[in-house]
């Protein structure tokens, strides 16, 4: 089996890598957005008496 630059396998692997890359980027954006929402909503404030020393 020869591997030219345009082999179908390359295209499929590029598609797979791109998909995983986009999913990871989306995950980072979601965690960031969630953190912003939680902080601005007061959801991440410690209750009195629960502060860590």
């Amino acid at each position: 089996m020869s591997f030219r630059a345009t082999h179908d396998l390359h295209k499929r692997r590029f598609g797979r890598n791109l998909g995983v890359g986009l999913v990871l980027a989306a995950f980072i954006a979601i965690v960031f957005g969630l953190t912003v929402a939680k902080v601005s909503n007061g959801g991440m404030t410690f209750q009195p008496g629960t502060e860590q020393n």
Binding site: M1, L9, R12, R13, G15, L34
Partner: protein
């Protein structure tokens, strides 16, 4: 790794693409999970930050998808036999069973932890229980053991609105369990109609569906009985916390159509069904999808109208 280091004997021409891994998550089932969980979340009497609500639905959907991947890993042997499932990524040879298991386990853990972090621990734990119920109780245990597999296993598909409600409120109430019961009672007639027109699929695979163990006549009777039970419950729910005049109107029309469909299935024999390639059974199956979608749509409409004094009975 450069191309020069690739051993050509290890290369598969039909290597999986990104879409094949996505197909492991059963996107069509996921759409039902997303919609019912969304209704559970929006019908709850609390305000949820849109980003938190979006994340809750997303992680519930990923959890549902993860259980689909684990189901495909475990059931690869019977998927290979059935016409309906032969093209799935594992039986078609595109994805290795171990890959599906790894993806399922990783996404299960990730979705439960992220749901717990995004909303509350109760919701995360309940999502974990749902995945356990679908994968272990239904897929591994009941599916190949009893003809009631669909009845009990249907509970797994009915949990999403409960998870959505818990994600919003952090507590349990009667309303999400009414939505659970609606999906739970809807599942048997929906799947038995499918089993009727997929004919020998389950038989070939050795799955003890009602059509295989008790015969097709008994399945037709069961569809009618369960449809009548479902109709009683669905219309009765109009007078509960999730119902209202709009829900009642929608439910009355849909249940009349559904009972009529079930009655037609009950009245037919195999010769008549085969003559028109199971047209009545197929249209009943299609109607069942619309039935659930519109019932949950009506529950959502009642909940969204409530702040304006229009939803519910008063």
């Amino acid at each position: 790794m450069s191309d020069a280091s690739i051993n050509a004997s290890n290369i598969r021409e039909d290597e999986a693409g990104f879409g094949d891994y996505f197909a492991l998550l059963k996107p069509r089932v996921m759409s039902l999970v997303v919609f019912t969980a969304l209704v559970g979340l929006l019908a709850a009497p609390v305000t949820v930050h849109p980003m938190v609500g979006f994340c809750a639905i997303l992680f519930i959907a990923i959890g549902g998808g993860a259980s689909g991947a684990l189901n495909m890993w475990w059931d690869a042997d019977i998927d290979r036999v059935m016409k309906r499932t032969r093209g799935r990524p594992i039986p078609s040879g595109k994805v290795e069973p171990g890959e599906a298991m790894a993806l399922g386990l990783a996404l299960s853990g990730m979705s439960c932890i992220m749901l717990a972090l995004a909303t509350n621990i109760f919701a995360g734990a309940f999502l974990a229980f749902t995945i356990f119920f679908y994968v272990v109780v239904y897929t591994m245990w009941l599916k190949r053991l009893t003809p009631q597999n669909i009845v009990i296993g249907g509970a797994a598909g009915a949990f999403p609105p409960v998870i959505g409600w818990i994600a919003a409120t952090g507590s349990m109430a009667v309303e999400p369990w009414l939505m659970f019961a609606l999906t739970f009672l809807w599942t048997p007639p929906h799947f038995w109609a499918l089993a009727l027109f997929m004919r020998n699929d389950y038989d070939d695979a050795g799955v003890p569906m009602l059509t295989v163990t008790h015969g097709r006549r008994a399945t037709r009777v069961h569809i009618l009985v369960y449809t009548l039970l479902l109709a009683l419950f669905a219309v009765g729910a109009a007078f509960s916390g999730i119902g209202g005049p709009l829900y009642l109107a929608v439910s009355l029309v849909l249940n009349m159509l559904f009972i009529l469909g079930a009655f037609r299935i009950w009245r037919r024999d195999e010769a008549a069904s085969e003559a028109d390639n199971f047209a009545t059974e197929r249209s009943f199956f299609k109607l069942s999808l619309l039935y659930l979608f519109l019932h949950f749509g009506a529950v959502l409409a009642e909940a969204l109208l409530r702040p304006y004094g229009l939803g519910g009975w008063g």
